[in-house]
Point group: C2
Chain length 152, copies 2
């Protein structure tokens, strides 16, 4: 193995910062969301995606790819959402292997009730702490890293 370049001081600071940011922010956002709405972040993301999809429904595989989670995980998650009446599965007519995840009215209502609080929480804990310039760079830098990670 080659001698690796270590991280310089600025990089180490950014790295430690990133780690702390993610842990703290995820924790707080999840906590706020859970307390205010009874939804987890995982629940919330699925409901948002379904609510934005045509007919409020989407194929399982497509939904899993969009949310960047495994099909297995989505399947388990959908089972839980289904048990709570927030969504349901409907078989696909044209491809009988396939299934659509469908947002129920109850799921839509739960999302509508949760969204304002969640947005407020994201705003308060994240964007209210940042300058417009920092927001822009966060977007740019995320895109750059994602691009690197996405092109195999």
């Amino acid at each position: 193995m080659d001698e690796p370049r270590w991280l310089d001081a600025e990089e180490m600071r950014a790295w430690r910062g990133y780690l702390g940011l993610v842990r703290l922010l995820d924790y707080r956002l999840n906590r706020d969301l859970q307390e205010e709405s009874g939804l987890t972040a995982a629940d919330y993301e699925i409901l948002v995606r379904l609510s934005e999809a045509p007919q409020r429904q989407q194929r399982m595989t497509e939904l899993a790819e969009g949310a960047m989670i495994s099909k297995s995980r989505l399947s388990h998650q959908m089972t839980r959402l289904e048990n709570r009446g927030l969504a349901c599965r409907v078989g696909c007519q044209t491809d009988r292997r396939g299934a659509f995840a469908v947002l129920s009215d109850k799921g839509f209502d739960a999302l509508a009730a949760a969204a304002p609080g969640h947005v407020a929480s994201v705003r308060r804990h994240l964007f209210d702490q940042l300058t417009p310039e920092q927001v822009k760079v966060l977007g740019d830098l995320s895109d750059a890293v994602i691009a690197g990670l996405t092109r195999d």
Copy 2:
């Protein structure tokens, strides 16, 4: 509840970017680390902290706070590390309720073997994709958000 300010376009872009960044980067870093060293990110962090502590040991509570995880989670984690011989627990003399988590030689060796590959992975997937300016802003912005989250 007050009318919440929604996110503007730049904020929404940054938010979606952040979400994708975290999911993808965590996934890839964990995967690389696991494959190359057999350690999970959670294992790795505990070992790093112990390796940097005086005597390569630290009180359970202090370690949990530093790593920003619950005492319960640390306790389970230490049980697993202990079973693999990477660390062990030693009772505290002056406070018989307390315990030190201690890094074993085997744990130190495992960390030393894992570190270069992990650093290379962080560099490749994250810092090689960013400009020095972006790295600086990432550090700044993380500090700002953490500060907001930390002052109750």
